[in-house]
Each structure stands twice: as structure tokens, then as C-alpha cells.
Amino acid sequence: MAQTCDHNINLGFTDQKFRPGVHACQIFNSDEEREEALLQFVYSGLKSGERVSCFSEKVNDKIFSYYLEQYGISLEEVKEQGRLVHARTGDVYFDHDCFEPDRMLNLLEKFHKESQEMNFSGARVIGEMTTEIQHIKGGERLLEYESKVSMLLKRCPVTAVCQYDANTFDGALVMDILKVHPFMIIKGRVVSNPFYMKPEEYLKEIGKA
């Protein structure tokens, strides 16, 4: 039985409240910016009793542990309890050296379902898309994937934040990324993205509808 999401959540950046299922992107240009956003988002989820999944190459257990301990949260404990799932980006996104949007969407859906079954108040995911996506097989379907995530999240309201490094992605691609994320995290604030194109519209434009 699907859990109803009738409460608003905080993403950890500001006091802003959002309905679960927010799909936002962060264009960062420094490790500090990425790390700060990631840790705030994770802590916020754990704090609100949500199940949190995190995919990152740079932020390791040591950084998590140090950050969470200052809030009295044990990393080991939350991991044992299944409250925090932490994996490397490449291990999740590029299984078998290939990017498969459908597999990822299934995983996301499965994550949402498991979170409900485990009676979490909600589920959130934050992941850093690495530059390998531009070279790996299936990488060209990134925007399609992102657009379909927006569609999925309507059905499976997992709050998702995608992190992109402005130093490794070209400005034109950044503009395209903006078009598939309804929200953006700009200078610690979550803003509605005026460039966002609805999935149906976008997928139709790129011929994937």
C-alpha cells in the first residue's frame, strides 16, 4: 500500500518546506560547495526520519561520521538501521561500465518502495553525476533519464537532488540539465527553475516520448 505523502519536508538548505518528490539540481564549482549541500541534505533527511541514499565519489564515511557526530548521530548506527545508504557513484550509475536509465529508474522506484515498507517517513536521494557520463556507453541518455526521474517522482515521491560539477560539464550541457530539473539549488537556496520543461514536453522534443 502506497504511503501517502501529506507532509512537507525541509531539504536542509533553508527553512523552505517542499512537498516530497522534489527533483532539484545543484551546479557547483567547488568540493566545499558540493560537500556542504550533500551533508545538509542527508542530515536533514535523517533528522526528519526519512530514509536517505547518497551516491558520491568524494564524500566518504569519515566525512559523514565527523559531520553527523556533531549532531549526535552515529554513522554506523544509521547504516545498520538502513536509514542511510551510502555508495560510490560509479558503482551505482555505471554498473558494467554502462549507464542504463531504466535500471536506475527501477532502483529509484525500489528504493521508494523499500522505504515505505520500512515505514520511513519519506525517502530522499542525493547523487553526484560524474564526468564519466559524457564518455560512457548510455551517457547520451542522461537528460532523458533526468526527465523520466521527474515523471517517476510524481508517482514515487522520493526527494532527489542531482549534483553537477560546473568545472567538468560544458555550459551548453548545463543549460540542458537545467531544462530537466524543476528546481535548482542556487547559493543555498532552492528555487523554481524557469527553464524547466515538463517531461512529456521535453521527451517529445528529444523524440523519447
Partner: protein, 761 residues
């Protein structure tokens, strides 16, 4: 359900587009590069209403195509390019043109900021790089300094230990405090006791030679400031007032923040001997007219020592010829020769040496001797260097010497000819002198020889007269005598005659006294047998050489005519005696003649050239010489001859050896003026014959004995000797016959001359 009006819709769209511009503006800040920004803007700006295309030009152009709107990205006059927007719908676009202007201004600001950031970053990177480098340098310096300090500490310790054992003095100079710690050796080197003088800078200054003090102090400090390790040479006064040459070697071991030395360590070495040697070397170089030169094969430039400047007569500040033009200073006939020598040196190495003539800067022509070697670096000849010596004086002297040698050779030739002539004359003179000496000896002999020959001749003459008289008497009485001898008495008288004959053969000449005594004895015997006229008969018997065994004759002697008969027999006997005398005299004269013949035998040919040596009978030679001297020896000198047997054979010149014996015997006879004994011993000795001629005459003093072989030395009165006799004896024995001669003599005792002649080998 709400109903949206047109106005609401427009407001929403306006908000969306403004939001897009703001969002783009926000994202732009995160994009790292200009290209990324341009791409981002190009992609996003066309979402805005009325805008068809967007184009970016890196540089602003004056030309703006139709329906295009320019949005220059200029901030602070820095051209960041221009965006050209193609406007499809001016009505839709125009309400937002200001916003878009602002947006592009923001883009320009961002690009400017990026540009400035890049500049700053570049600058920062440069600074950081410099900082890193400087940090590394400092770290290295710190490391080196620490190592240096450690090494220095160790070296200083070791140095002090070494210096303690070495001959160098040591000092530790604290520059700021002007204190210098001097080692014991520093003091003793100058004749002071350790610590006898204060350990201050002023002590060192005070010991410098006063007239050089300022100059040396300035020079030392210039050396210190020029190099961390420095050295200088100067004179310092010893305690005894004399000056020693000192070599100071120093090292700055500590500096302050401004780089000025704080602490200096150093040594003093006494180089007085080396300096003296250098002064000597300079002086020698000046005397020897020698200098040093070098040609840099890379630059072609030459460098000379003062010596070469002097030789080439260049001023010391004058430019000197390099590798290309120095050959021209040699005389034309030497240029190819010198160039080849130098090329050989450069290509083949070894040592170059040549002598050549060159023209000095003042136009004088000189001779030089150049010696050189090459310097190789990585297999390439980089320089040649060596010495140049002015040998003009030597060459001139050599020419003079050659001239002199040529003259000398002629002189020697002339002189040799003269000497040969002189020698020839001398040889002739010597031969004449020798002949003269020989003739002198002969002259002395001749009188004796004449006398000795004259005596036999006198005897022969007298005997001949007797013989003639007796023969006349015998002839007259021959009949009487024949008849008488046939009578009975005649037989008896025959016995008397027979006995007389036998007595004559062995008779000796009686002295008057002997005759008288014998006459008395015979008379007594006859008277005993009553023989009448005993005395007269005795005289007759003695004249007939009948001296004994008279008794058997007594009957015949009693005959009445005995005296007459004995007279006739006596005449016969006397005749026989006269014949004997003649024979003896002839024999005697013959011996002398033979001796003389032997004596004057020549051992030279008709040209006076010495004939080959022949065996010589030394005894015979001595006998002959003695015979010739018989007249001088027979009356007062007793001659004793002791000839040994088994004498070896001597090969030599009999003529020359006769002269030896003649001179020696003559001298002995002369020395025994009042008589004496001349002893001649001939024995075999040391594979030769030793002849000793000894006299017991007046002898010689030591002084005379030492001069006895000197030519022209004589003790005889003027006119009696030439003074060459013993010199000739010495030459004949020692030089011609390779024998030996010795003289032993004592005044009033006598002289012995020993002559040794080698046996035939």
C-alpha cells in the same frame, strides 16, 4: 478554480523570463570558463521571447547585421567580445531589452571577473611558484647552513687539531668586537712567546710593515669582501725586528643580515723562503731575458708576462698581437717555419721548440727561443702557452765563437806545424846531445884506450929489439952452440935449456926484490955444492927463468965455460920470452880493439832509425866497458865482479845499454878519485836482470840525489860534464827498455845504482 486574465498571463511570462535571466546569471557565476559561459548563454538566451538566434564574436566588430542587436561585453574598456542576437519578433523582445542589456552587462562583469581572477590566479600562481621556489631554496639553504655549520664545527675542530700539529698559525677573528684569537704557533712564527701580544686586531695591524700598513689593510679587506674564501700576502715584523713574508688564508664563517662578515677563521703561513725564491726567479728571469706567453685558441687573444713585453719592446699598456698576426713579427724567412711549428703543436701536442729572428715593436731585430705546449679540454686544443727567451746575445756570442773557433783552428794548425818543426829540431838536438855525451865518454876513454894500446905496442917494440939483438948474437955463436950441445956437457946443458923452456911457459914476472932474494937462495945452493961463480951463475939461471930444482943441474954448472955457455942459452931463452911478450901485447891490444869495436856498435840504420832490439849479453857488455876503463881502474881501483848464473835473456839495444854502463862506471870512477872498490853484481831478479854498480866513493847528498836524473844537472866542474848523462841513462832504461833504475847514496859512504831490465817475454 481561478480564471487567468491576459494580464496575469503576461505577468507570469514576464516573471518566468526574468527568472530565466536571473537563474542564468546565477549559474554563470559557477561556470568556470569563458567558453562554458558563452555556450551556456547561447543555449539559454534563445528561450527568451522574440530571440531567434544568438551568436558570439570574440572581438567587437563595427558591422551589425540586419535584425541583429549588439550586446558588447565590455567592462573597464576590456573587450570580452560581443553577443549578436537575431530578433525574430521585436514586439515580444523589446519589453525585455533592458533586462537583456543588464544580463549581458552581468555576463561582461562575470567575464571581467573571470579575467581578473585569471590574472590574479596567474599572479598568485607566479607568487606561489616563487614562494615555493624560495621556500625550497630557503629549506635548502637552511639544510646547507646546518650541514655547513656542522661541517664547520667539525672542520674547525679538526683544523685546530691539525694546526696544532702543523707549521701554520691560526686565528679566529670576531669582526664586531675586533678581537682575534691567535694560536700559539701564530706567535712563535714571529718569534714571540704564546700570548705575548694582545689578542686584538690592532696587534696584527701594528706588526705590518709601517710603509705598507694602510695598503695591506685595505687589500685584505677587499679580499675578504670579494670572496668567502680569500687569501693575501704581506710582510710582518718579527720580534727581532726582521720581516717575514706571511700568506694569510681566511674563510668567512658567519655573516650578519646585511651580508657583512661577523666571524672569520684563517691561517698564517710563513712563505719567506718562497718569496725569496720568487724574487730570485724574477731576477733570474730578468737576467735570462725570459718571459711567458699564452694564446687562447678560442678567442685568438694573446697574453704575455712582463718578460715578453720587454723582449718584444712593447709598452706594458700597449695592445699585443693575437694568434693571427704575431707571425708577421718574425723575419720573412722564419714565418713559414714558425707557423708550421705552432700548427704541429696544436694538432699533435708534445713540446714545441724553435729559434727564430723577429722584429721588435721598436724595429730592432732579435733572436728568440720559444718553447711551448698545448692545453686540451674535452679533446680540443683551447690554448697554447710557453716561454720566450731573448737569445740575441747568445747568438752573437755563438757567431763570435764560431769565428774565433775557425781562427783558433788555423792557429792550432800553424802552432802544430811550428811544434812539429820544433820537435824535429829538438829531436835532432837531443840526438846531437846524446851523441855529444857519447862522444864525451869516448873522449874520456880514448886517452886510456890509447895508453892501453900504446903499452903493448911498446912491449912489442922492445921485445922485437931484444929479439933482433939476440938473433944476431945467436947467429954468430950458432956453430959454438951446436958443437957444445953435441958434447957430454951439452946433454947436461940441454937439460938446463929444457927446464928453462918449461919455466918460461909458466913463469911470472919477478919484482926486483923477489929476484934479489931468489938470487941469494940459488947462490947459496950452488955454493953449497961448491960451484964456482955461484952468484953470476945464479943471475944467469934467473934470467933463464930457472928458479928451483937446481941440484940436478950442478954437474953442468961446474963446467969451466959455464958462464959463456949460459950466456948463449940465456939469449935463446930471452928471445923466446920476447916472442911471448909480443904475443901477449898483441892479444892485449886485440882485446881492447874488440871491446872498442863492440862499444861503438851502432843499433841504428844509416838514417839514424832505431833497429829492432836483439838479444844482449849484459856480462860481456860490462866486461868490454870495464876493459875500456882499464887504464883508469888498474892502478887505484879494485874491481870486483859478481856475475850470477842462469841469467834470463835480455832483448834491447846493446849500443844504448853500453852507454848506460859507461856513464854509470865513469861516474863511479869519478866518485872514487883517490881509489876504492868498484863492485858490479849481476843477478836474476823479478823475471829480469838486476845490475848493481856500487862504489865506495864520495857519495851524494840527498839534494843532489833527488836531482840526479834532471837534465843538465851536474856536480862536475864546468867543461867536464854536460849534465845529460844520468838523464840519458834514465831514458834508455825506463823509456826505451821499460826497466827501472834506483839510486842509493850517502855522502862519504858511496853510491849504488841499481838497474833492472825486463827479461824477454
Amino acid at each position: 478554480m481561478s480564471i487567468e486574465t491576459n494580464s496575469d498571463t503576461e505577468i507570469k511570462l514576464e516573471a518566468k523570463w526574468l527568472g530565466q535571466l536571473l537563474l542564468m546569471q546565477s549559474v554563470l557565476y559557477n561556470l568556470p570558463t569563458k567558453d562554458s559561459i558563452i555556450n551556456f548563454v547561447n543555449k539559454g538566451i534563445t528561450d527568451l521571447p522574440g530571440i531567434g538566434e544568438c551568436d558570439y564574436q570574440s572581438h567587437q566588430t563595427e558591422i551589425t547585421p540586419e535584425n541583429m542587436v549588439r550586446f558588447p561585453l565590455s567592462v573597464q574598456e576590456k573587450d570580452h567580445g560581443v553577443f549578436l542576437l537575431k530578433i525574430d519578433d521585436h514586439d515580444k523582445f523589446s519589453p525585455y531589452q533592458d533586462y537583456i542589456n543588464n544580463f549581458f552587462f552581468a555576463v561582461g562583469v562575470i567575464l571581467e571577473e573571470r579575467y581578473q581572477r585569471r590574472l590574479n590566479q596567474k599572479h598568485q600562481e607566479s607568487i606561489e611558484q616563487s614562494l615555493d621556489q624560495r621556500t625550497l631554496q630557503l629549506l635548502e639553504e637552511i639544510k646547507e647552513r646546518k650541514e655547513t655549520e656542522n661541517n664547520l664545527r667539525e672542520i674547525t675542530l679538526q683544523h685546530r687539531l691539525v694546526l696544532k700539529a702543523s707549521n701554520d698559525g691560526f686565528f679566529d677573528f670576531n669582526v664586531k668586537e675586533q678581537k682575534i684569537t691567535y694560536s700559539d704557533r701564530w706567535f712563535t712564527m714571529l718569534g714571540y712567546e704564546p700570548d705575548e701580544l694582545p689578542h686584538t686586531y690592532d696587534t696584527w695591524i701594528s706588526l705590518l710593515r709601517p710603509e705598507n700598513r694602510d695598503y695591506v689593510e685595505k687589500g685584505v679587506w677587499e679580499a675578504i669582501n670579494a670572496n668567502a674564501r680569500w687569501n693575501y700576502e704581506f710582510e710582518m715584523r718579527r720580534k727581532d725586528g726582521t720581516y717575514a713574508w706571511i700568506l694569510v688564508r681566511g674563510m668567512i664563517v658567519e655573516k650578519d643580515g646585511t651580508g657583512s662578515p661577523v666571524r672569520i677563521l684563517g691561517t698564517h703561513t710563513d712563505i719567506t723562503k718562497r718569496k725569496q725564491a720568487e724574487l730570485l726567479l724574477n731576477a733570474v728571469g730578468k737576467i735570462a731575458k725570459i718571459g711567458g706567453w699564452e694564446i687562447d685558441m678560442v678567442t685568438g687573444r694573446s697574453s704575455w708576462t712582463k718578460g715578453v713585453y720587454d723582449i718584444a719592446e712593447f709598452e706594458y699598456d700597449q695592445s699585443i698581437p693575437g694568434s693571427n698576426d704575431h707571425i708577421q713579427y718574425y723575419l720573412p724567412e722564419y714565418r713559414d717555419f714558425v707557423a708550421k711549428k705552432i700548427n704541429d703543436l696544436i694538432e699533435n701536442g708534445g713540446q714545441m721548440e724553435y729559434e727564430a729572428q723577429f722584429t721588435t715593436q721598436k724595429g730592432n731585430v732579435k733572436w728568440c727561443r720559444a718553447i711551448g705546449q698545448r692545453t686540451m679540454v674535452n679533446g680540443v686544443c683551447t690554448a697554447i702557452n710557453g716561454t720566450l727567451q731573448d737569445i740575441t746575445a747568445f747568438k752573437e756570442a755563438e757567431a763570435e765563437l764560431t769565428k774565433y773557433r775557425e781562427n783558433l783552428e788555423q792557429l792550432v794548425k800553424d802552432r802544430t806545424n811550428e811544434l812539429e818543426e820544433t820537435l824535429s829540431i829538438l829531436q835532432k838536438t837531443q840526438s846531437q846531445l846524446i851523441l855529444f855525451e857519447k862522444m864525451g865518454a869516448l873522449r874520456h876513454l880514448i886517452s886510456g884506450i890509447a895508453h892501453e894500446i900504446n903499452n903493448p905496442l911498446g912491449a912489442i917494440d922492445a921485445s922485437n929489439e931484444i929479439l933482433l939483438n939476440n938473433l944476431q948474437k945467436i947467429t954468430v955463436n950458432i956453430d959454438k952452440l951446436a958443437g957444445f950441445l953435441k958434447s957430454p956437457f951439452g946433454v947436461q946443458f940441454g937439460r938446463i935449456l929444457e927446464k928453462s923452456f918449461s919455466s918460461c911457459a909458466s913463469s911470472v914476472t919477478l919484482t926486483t926484490r923477489e929476484r934479489r932474494k931468489l938470487c941469494e937462495e940459488i947462490t947459496a945452493t950452488l955454493e953449497k955444492f961448491n960451484v964456482p961463480n955461484a952468484y953470476e951463475i945464479s943471475n944467469k939461471l934467473i934470467s933463464m927463468k930457472i928458479y928451483d930444482n937446481i941440484e940436478p943441474l950442478v954437474p953442468a954448472l961446474r963446467h969451466e965455460d959455464v958462464l959463456e955457455k949460459l950466456g948463449i942459452l940465456s939469449e935463446i931463452i930471452n928471445s923466446i920470452t920476447a916472442c911471448d911478450t909480443i904475443a901477449i901485447a898483441v892479444s892485449k891490444a886485440s882485446k881492447i880493439v874488440n871491446a872498442l869495436k863492440q862499444y861503438i856498435r851502432k843499433d841504428t840504420d844509416d838514417q839514424g832509425k832505431q833497429l829492432p832490439f836483439k838479444p844482449v849479453d849484459i856480462r860481456m857488455c860490462l866486461d868490454n866497458v870495464l876493459l875500456l876503463f882499464q887504464n883508469s881502474t888498474k892502478n887505484f881501483i879494485n874491481v870486483e865482479l859478481n856475475y850470477g848464473g842462469d841469467l834470463p835473456e835480455i832483448i834491447g839495444s846493446q849500443d844504448e845499454l853500453n852507454q848506460v854502463w859507461t856513464n854509470l862506471i865513469q861516474n863511479s870512477i869519478y866518485a872514487m878519485g883517490n881509489g876504492g872498490t868498484l863492485t858490479i853484481d849481476v843477478t836474476a831478479k823479478d823475471n829480469g836482470i838486476l845490475v848493481k854498480i856500487r862504489d865506495d866513493g864520495c857519495g851524494m847528498s840527498e839534494e843532489v840525489k833527488n836531482k840526479v836524473f834532471e837534465p843538465l844537472f851536474t856536480t862536475k866542474p864546468a867543461g867536464e860534464g854536460t849534465g845529460l848523462g844520468m838523464d840519458i841513462v834514465y831514458n834508455i832504461v825506463v823509456n826505451n827498455h821499460h826497466g827501472a833504475i834506483e839510486v842509493e847514496s850517502k855522502p862519504e859512504v858511496g853510491t849504488t845504482i841499481s838497474v833492472w831490465l825486463p827479461a824477454r817475454t
